[in-house]
Symmetry: C2
Subunit: 469 residues, 2 copies
């Protein structure tokens, strides 16, 4: 037996005890059905599904604390679950244990228009929050592809198309309620906009993927809905030209709200799926937020930049309907890709590089895709230097899957070699642990020291982020 | 003997050994003169000076690592020193030890205009950086009162007048080189704009005041110098009206670059010191950054808001000279205050509250000052809800000093009770440790666990931030 198998055997009894205790305490809300357990293992990627022993649907921070205390006593793993839309195996249970499903903790606790902030339970999704905010003149900007839970988005330090203007979850989270690995309830941060009072526990928790504690509530920064929004599409002869337009736009201080690159393959997929008729060439999708005069000025300035770099015509839309169609197409880019190879599975990955290296990194990746013979559209939040590749594979063809994994590995090492990171917004989970050493060097030791100190029994989402120490 | 005195006695021998070793290794760069030691203890506040045993002037990260390894072996305290402009006793040496002076590590290592970032050694000051950047079209926005070192600014999570637009050191720092308590050199972050790759060590270090490691290099985010800048001054009948104008301005999404409140006492001081003739009433100082058309529009919108709230006339200046005079007056507010009571010492403090509570907090503080009979001007970065009070005291009058300390205590508790923080930008140091429990509750235990794990012998800037555990 492998050491892991032995460990699993040894803990199997403890896990049974915990499941019994939780069943007794939570009744039907402690579910053990195969279907639910598998659904709470990871389902959206190429990683193997590793279901938990049971799923508990919680309704309060106190319930989370109670479960964690029971698990801590028996040294049984705890895996927080929001909507299950993460991409790197974050919710898998490689050592079994209890999945804590926070989706029923979906109350919006307070909104303060004066302070431009709100407090929500961790299971509230980003779309639910924005629907709730509709009449306040405020909105929450961060928009990963999925309608993820805000707790999950904080855990993976998510971002999306308008991070270039509004930042990521690192910027959006003002404070948290967390349940520690010992089952204690701790509030981090305050309602002040800034603070110099001690260690930044909020930002240590954001991006820690449930390995240091479970986020149960969030204090979030909101933004006023801009008076005017305009957006448009601009084709470029080459990826380099498009990237240079992005660099110039950012350097000129144009406060662009969204600036997204689609490579020709991605444009083709969007054309088919969303019934557009864009030229199949590197294309930027843009959006400007501001006053009426401001967005006009921004569009005008961008148009000049694009024209100088051989891009254009820049077709821009102030009508909400046309703009919504464009951005729906952009948001559906992931799903549209599958039209290029019906029946295929997607191996999704994201990297982020300094913007000065972006054209070089995308070009090298494009060539790698061609050489490898993949169909693999590229789409990027290029204002941040962040881009995604979705490799379409025949999941039953082992050779193809392995080739895709090797490609992803080359891409991640390429990004790190350029001074970038192996993930701009998806997180590490299980899938990217192998890049941590290369990216952080002995910083990994510091992370491991923190993990061991806060969670000495390694019960919080074990097997994620960090290589075994 | 007190336990602390005993501990000092026990370690005195180790400290002597370390000073000998460092003198041998660094020659004249290891200084032991009384004057230098006292200068490297804390001098800018009411806190007692506690000089280190020696000061070493370092020139490289490797030298810092070497010193820390020697100190770690002998369990002797290490205190990093930049310019000594911090306000809460951050550089004091309550248990003796070695002050590492980083002021000679003042090289600007690289500037990348394409990426809007730069890499600097920790001893570079903010003004030095901006002078260096002058011809690049870029600037570094964060401006605490003093010309502090960038390493020190990161350590205290500093901000300044334009944090409302450009953020604080939390936002400005993309990555760090640190020397750990074991004397290892670790690089945190990357050159990518965002990352989801593991624990955010960068932001754990920012604001940790040298208690978890020593910052020796910083990767910093830069901004394009705006095409147009305009600014001005707007009087209000009451502090509440002024605060309401701030709230409305922020809510309307006007991207104000600076919005500062001066209470009538502070206006009076500025009038005397900087030869202005402003009405002695609550006054906002504003600055707008953008395109020519953009700043005009911003000024116009603000003017409308102010007029509706009974403020005005809003006098605005597009001429650089007149604007510079205004902002110099604002930057000299600290020094100007002493004209109100020549010979007095200043007890400086800062708090930060949710902006919806700002008027209430400032008003209550104003009344407290009146009741206490102090001369104590108030000035605030009100776009963030952050404000400062400088209580002018006769340092030889013990009763007065104690009354000032009691006032500061009431102010800090008031801010925390309003959902705010005991410091928006000065940091905790020694002076604010007593508020940590009230503000963070059992979050302090989490911080202590992290501190013990990373620095088990408590050699890194001991006696700062955290109460004894």
């Amino acid at each position: 037996m492998t050491p892991q198998a032995t460990a699993l055997e040894q803990t199997a009894e403890s896990r049974d005890v915990v499941v019994s205790l939780l069943s007794e305490r939570f009744g039907d809300r402690c579910a053990r059905s195969e279907a639910l357990r598998v659904q709470h293992g990871h389902t959206t990627t190429w990683l193997t599904n590793q279901p938990p022993d049971a799923v508990v649907f919680v309704r309060s921070t106190e319930e989370v604390a109670e479960i964690v205390r029971i698990c801590a006593e028996h040294k049984v793993p705890v895996i927080p679950f929001g909507t299950g839309s993460s991409l790197e195996g974050h919710v898998n249970a490689p050592q079994g244990g209890i999945s804590i499903d926070l989706s029923q903790m979906n109350e919006i606790l307070s909104v303060s228009p004066e302070d431009l902030d709100c407090r929500v339970q961790a299971g509230v999704t980003r779309k639910q929050l924005n629907t709730h905010l509709r009449d306040t003149g405020l909105f929450f900007p961060i928009d990963p592809g999925a309608d993820a839970s805000l707790g999950g988005m904080a855990s993976t330090r998510a971002s999306g198309t308008n991070a270039v203007r509004y930042g990521t979850m690192c910027d959006a989270v003002l404070g948290l309620t967390i349940v520690t690995p010992q089952g204690e309830i701790v509030r981090t941060g305050s309602r002040a906009r800034k603070s110099s009072a001690g260690y930044d526990l909020t930002r240590l928790m954001v991006g820690s993927e449930g390995t240091l504690g479970i986020i149960t509530e969030l204090q979030l920064r909101l933004h006023g809905i801009p008076e005017a929004i305009s957006g448009g599409v601009c084709p470029f002869p080459t990826i380099e030209d498009a990237c240079n337009a992005v660099i110039t736009t950012i350097q000129c201080g144009i406060p662009v709200a969204r600036i997204e690159l689609l490579d020709p393959v991605q444009v083709k997929a969007c054309n088919i799926y969303s019934k557009l008729d864009l030229a199949e060439t590197p294309t930027l999708f843009l959006e400007f937020h501001g006053t009426e005069a401001g967005v006009q000025e921004q569009s005008y300035l961008f148009n000049e930049i694009a024209a100088e770099l051989g891009g254009g015509p820049f077709v821009w839309e102030t009508q909400a309907e046309a703009r919504t169609k464009l951005w729906e197409a952009r948001h559906n880019a992931y799903w549209s890709s599958f039209t290029l190879r019906p029946g295929a599975k997607g191996v999704a990955t994201d990297v982020c590089v300094p913007i000065s290296r972006l054209a070089e990194c995308v070009e090298a990746t494009r060539k790698d895709i061609e050489t490898s013979g993949f169909i693999a559209p590229i789409v990027g939040h290029v204002g941040d230097g962040n881009f995604h590749v979705l490799v379409l594979v025949d999941a039953d063809n082992n050779e193809e899957v392995q080739a895709a994994e090797a490609f992803v590995e080359r891409l991640n090492y390429r990004a790190i070699d350029m001074g970038g990171t192996c993930t701009g917004e998806h997180g590490i989970g299980q899938g990217k642990i192998k890049y941590m050493q290369k990216e952080h060097g002995n910083g990994v030791d510091v992370m491991q020291t923190i993990k061991r100190a806060l969670d000495p029994d390694n019960i919080m989402n074990p097997g994620k982020i960090l290589p075994p120490s």
